[in-house]
Subunit: 355 residues, 2 copies
Amino acid sequence: MVAFIAGAFATRPPVTTMEATLSDGVVHASGNARERFYDSQGYGQPRANGALALAPVEAAHLLFRGDLDAVDGMDFHDFLASGSVSETVFLVYKDLRDRGFYLSPAREAFADDPDGADLIVYPRGKGPWDDEVAYRIRVVGERTDVPATELGDVVLAVVDEESEITYFETGVPEIEGNSRTDLPAEIEGELLSDRVTVPRPPEGLYEECFYGQPLDESASDVLQLSLLEAAYLAREGALAVDGGAHVLQERGRAVEGERFDRRLAVYTTLRERGVVPKTGFKFGADFRTYADVESVADLGHSEFLVRVVPGDHVFSPRDLALDVRLAHGVRKRMVFALTDAKGAIDWLTVTRLTP
Amino acid sequence: MVAFIAGAFATRPPVTTMEATLSDGVVHASGNARERFYDSQGYGQPRANGALALAPVEAAHLLFRGDLDAVDGMDFHDFLASGSVSETVFLVYKDLRDRGFYLSPAREAFADDPDGADLIVYPRGKGPWDDEVAYRIRVVGERTDVPATELGDVVLAVVDEESEITYFETGVPEIEGNSRTDLPAEIEGELLSDRVTVPRPPEGLYEECFYGQPLDESASDVLQLSLLEAAYLAREGALAVDGGAHVLQERGRAVEGERFDRRLAVYTTLRERGVVPKTGFKFGADFRTYADVESVADLGHSEFLVRVVPGDHVFSPRDLALDVRLAHGVRKRMVFALTDAKGAIDWLTVTRLTP
């Protein structure tokens, strides 16, 4: 059946008939395979006996191109159907080759560092004989969930049901800002059902430190604080409400359970780093953040959208695509705050990548 | 404290000093309250004794405007802090009044049909004395989860932490199309790990019926089908694979569990209605849909983004905002397919509304 698939290559026959054998998950090709495939194109690993060891995905690509005729008598389609290679990994391998990269399967070629990666991509113009890596790629289908803890040092390549590939670069963001971190002297607030009002707020509380929001445009001398802002200020001793700080936390938990505590931990950390978090509701996120607030009147663009998730969160690639696409559309970076039960936070940023 | 809030109204004192009393959740105002508030502005319900019965949110708004001086001695801020009225409902009530609508609290004014609504909004220029309703509004905070089953006939008003309000119209979409529903004569396919390939597919299978995707641009005579497309075709007797249709379903379940069955039920229903579902991955959805496919070469804009959720799904307003905003940005309508265990589907559409 290879004829249908490799039709475009029919005019470029193999230099010599080239067959190969599969054993223990490695495809062995002899003859001039090393010269043709490794030396000039970066496929496989040369072995001491002069033969070339190919990973199944490399062999599949050579079959697809028509450079290999068969592996144990199987043509490209039979080889794929044999289960020797995942077709999602093959599709990504092919896409990256089409983009001009040399690459190797991670598990075979880099046994010392395959963790979480399926493919190792070399910088353009480089190959397996060099010592540089451009991307470590993890391949999943659009329906395969991915634990958040497995991201951060790989590029996630998602193959959708139409075999289109979306690449997500994952990493650890630098989250530091220069917004004012000083707290006001203790102010008094009144807890309503879902927010706290502060009458006659101290100068700068809103305008410079960007806490709260005036209740009404015509009434800038009453400030309303979100429960989160109020809980933070109260815990820092900067806000007094009847019943004390824990009343605010209890109110928050009443609506969203332990999620409130996780969000408070993230809010607190962001503030401590000089970054101002405000609600990200309109963007479907927990927070949007401002790194350099000098005054609300002269507010810059917010840089990040932050979504707070538990440390053991598992991403659906679809939801990841949604978050990242929306963030991109509003010129912000999507950041996930992975919080454990004690409030420790691992930061993860995910952005769309075009290799 | 009302002075700070109603500062803007200080130049417009009440015509007469107007006080009111609260009992059993109803605020009673006498004197000329009926003429001033009901007849000319649509607040409250007139009672036989000539007095006016106001819902707490109405009284709060009159206090806020300075038209009422006090309720049981409480000014606006005290009244809000007393817990007699939810400030989120108040904020939405105020916003709609600011937009020029007359409205009533649903529970008090429409005891026969308050289901799931907090506020009843009359068409512009109409009031409680008329018999028309423009919107039934349900009010939630940005952190309050909302069961999907409670949507479909209300407008959801979400008050975010900065008290900005986003309105979502919810309804039941008409999902009908004119795409071809005839199935091919039985074709043969080969199951790979995550898709099915069909060599030499019958004419029109892709080009007219929009099943599958060519494996490669240079190889249009091998079609790949997603597991979902393949499972559908196999169950309809239009595709044969080794082991039969149930092998496809098992493979699907292996990756995404019972979600695969729910997605298959939605896929099937859409196809039966003449609508072509294709992956919505790039938009973070399960499907994008095409209502009138005559040929892939002349494909129109896809109309809906469909997300498949269990029938007992509970929306986080934040996630709803995300889906609806993204769909709007790509000029599609967001549709949720609520599926029960037997594959029955309730459709729900959610769009952003500016009242």
